[in-house]
Symmetry: C2
Subunit: 272 residues, 2 copies
């Protein structure tokens, strides 16, 4: 039933199969076997592949070990300087920089190369204020009615409130939508396997791009405000708000919590 | 009930609230209101904050517009060169480079700064072969029994099989676990809000780091193999396999599908 296409691969005797499937996983305790109803395969298209042949992979680099060490170390240090900042100045950010940041997010891998993301960029002041209003209204209800005791207790310790002034102060809001499905050229509904994981990975690339540009952001999840945000931004019903990133310059006196990151030993488990 | 802590913020009159809550969202059609049982808040700790004061944010850069444009453009181009590659040589990668890649992933933001990730690094040949065996065995069953007709049909077009030779050929496997919860110093169970989105974002940073080091990978999801992988890697029951990345050098004749990425216009929705 499944055809197995093998391609002649010159000297690569070890690898005879052209395209491997990259399949979902989610070994949550309450589901023994899982089929993917939305989140990553990989970059290479299950859906595009039949429309295009394989081409040689152009290797652009051949670093020495020293160069790899130096480059990987430097990138780590740049990323390690990143902090979530909630205190923004209203200094404008050039749109072309934001465009490069969005382009970078768009280079992420995705399940069956469906690229299941939409990035709404909001710079209009009235709209930023409207978004802030929606989010604060939902947050107020979240705090007062929807959160359980444990959660409220967890939040008590940090003194958060439903107020989010930075949403209307910062230069740019990026509202990130995951596309749960879409429609192909023939109007057929197209499944987006692993849309959530794929979109979250693209946000990782976006955070790196924001850092590279010398800007700051704070990764936020506007709980329960998704449907209203989707409507005022005019997005389709199959697009769901995943995250919202205020992007801009830190204010003069911005502060961040005095926390440390886990050490390499705490996060890496080596089998050498 | 909730205390609202306000801090004096010098000239920042617009922003009086010290820490904003960053809350989950998931406006899936079948749930009107959502509480987070695992996926991103943001970098700054709900749980750590009560243990540490805010400190000034050290701005390390103050780029001109031209510099921002140049830096953001260059980073985009570097990331745009990334492709998922499935054809690896067995050339070894220095462990110190892998360590920098893992460190970079560890700089990601996470819900309430729980850093809900474990990265198992497998370089032992016998263990790589064992992992390949587990994954291929599950994949065989996935193909033959678990996948629906639509999915099988989607895969038919691309000619994938259950075979994954690259898993034992490449230098290094990185198995990425999301920690669904954990335990604090007192042995109390600690909720990991947004663990899946947080971990996927960290993988975005990891992909950037792999690219920066001049190496290649392929983001894969070993469907249904999670529990067995977790066991042979000796991880805890609250750690769940999210993704698996083979990392190394592309083989001499590696190919990639001839696909294009969506354009900026296709992924960006501007409200200026």
């Amino acid at each position: 039933m499944l055809q197995e296409r093998s391609y002649k691969r010159g000297n690569d005797e070890l690898q005879q199969t052209k395209l491997e499937s990259c399949d979902p996983t989610d070994d949550t305790p309450n589901s023994e076997y899982i089929t993917p109803n939305g989140d990553i395969d990989d970059d290479d298209s299950a859906f595009n592949f039949d429309e295009g042949e394989h081409v040689p992979f152009e290797k652009k680099f051949d670093y020495t070990e020293e160069e790899m060490l130096q480059k990987s170390r430097q990138f780590y240090e740049e990323m390690n300087d990143r902090r979530s900042v909630r205190f923004f100045s209203n200094r404008p950010v050039p749109l072309r920089v934001i465009e490069n940041i969005i382009r970078t997010a768009g280079t992420g891998p995705s399940g069956a190369h469906t690229e299941p993301w939409t990035f709404s960029v909001v710079r209009d002041q009235a709209m930023k204020e409207q978004i802030r209003e929606i989010i604060e209204a939902e947050e107020k209800v979240n705090y007062e009615k929807r959160m359980g005791n444990k959660w409220l207790n967890d939040l008590k310790a940090i003194g958060t409130t439903y107020k989010k002034p930075y949403l209307s102060v910062c230069s740019t809001l990026i509202v990130i939508f995951k596309q749960v499905y879409s429609f192909d050229e023939r109007g057929q509904r197209k499944t987006h396997y692993y849309h959530e994981i794929s979109t979250a990975i693209s946000v990782g690339l976006m955070l790196a791009a924001i850092q590279k540009a010398g800007l700051v952001t704070c990764t936020t999840t506007p709980m329960n405000a998704g449907p209203r945000l989707r409507k005022i931004l005019g997005r389709e019903s199959y697009e769901k708000v995943l995250l919202l990133l205020p992007v801009g310059y830190a204010s003069e006196n911005a502060t961040v919590p005095d926390f440390k990151r886990k050490s390499l030993e705490d996060i890496m488990d080596l089998h050498d």
